[in-house]
Amino acid sequence: MKIKVNGEAVELEKELTVSELLVKQDVDMPDMVSVELNGEILDRDTFSDTVVKDGDQVEFLYFMGGGASVRF
């Protein structure tokens, strides 16, 4: 099956949960990611039982601060 992740086509052998997709896509800080599935932002506690299906559009939104502040 084919899905789109952040605009790029991704081929999957089978349906995966959002949690599994985060692992498969090698997202290194999943706690820093918000997930939009077909235009809807998912609640974090539904990642493990929301299944991504053929044709779905997934967007990983990354938390970004200022990139700068190092407080001693």
């Binding site: 809807e40 932002i41 601060g65 990139g67 190092v70």
Partner: protein, 268 residues
Amino acid sequence: MYDFSEEQLQRYSRHIILQDVGVEGQEKLLTSSVLIIGTGGLGTPAAQFLAAAGIGKIGLVDADKVELSNLQRQVLHHTPDVGKLKVQSAKEKINAMNPDVEVKTYDYYLTSQNIKEVIREYDFVIDGTDNFPAKFLINDACVMEGKPFSHAGIIRFGGQTTTVVPGEDTPCYRCMFPQPPKPGSVPSCKEAGVIGVMGGVIGTIQATEAIKYILGKGELLTGKLLTYDALKMDFRKINLNKRENCGICSDDPEITELIDYEQGVCEL
């Protein structure tokens, strides 16, 4: 009608001959006000273009002093400014750049206790902060006060920005990110860092949004998160919808008072 001086007609001539600005648009800019929260990587490029454009009143919020490590990207602060309050350093440059701009400085942190009264004085707010507690506080306060604002974040070779206009059927920052990341989940300091130009690109886009909002021209980045990957030189707009159960901008919000979240030891 605003009484333009000969000098002002020259200074703003490239705006005035621009069809979507004109004398009327320049008058709007000269009689408007923008608050810039954080005068660092995002806030300084935003401030300098807003000042050059002739925004009548610019508020600058920052409690920090200029450090040597800021100069790689915070272009309004110069080497002799190290040790000076950032708001003072930025104010001096803006005053030299454009005497039409009134600059008001706030050399303290905004909290749940003082943010509302500060943002009330301005037409538009730019979030140029570097930490998540501030970003959520700005979002929530602006939603509560019905104040439009530009959100942005930058890290490494990436940046993103969106514009929030409360009261419209478009999402707020909390629709996209319902809760701040847990302090333990943010990357460690050594994984952070940012390419110097990133704040210039994204902060300038924030200034563009403020100017478009004031002019009432074009389409804002409402309902869209613009992401920029400098390594791939790729800009993308992600469409975003308002979340029905958003904690702050839904019809029956769960959050009714502002929250001061804990600042992690080493946030981004």
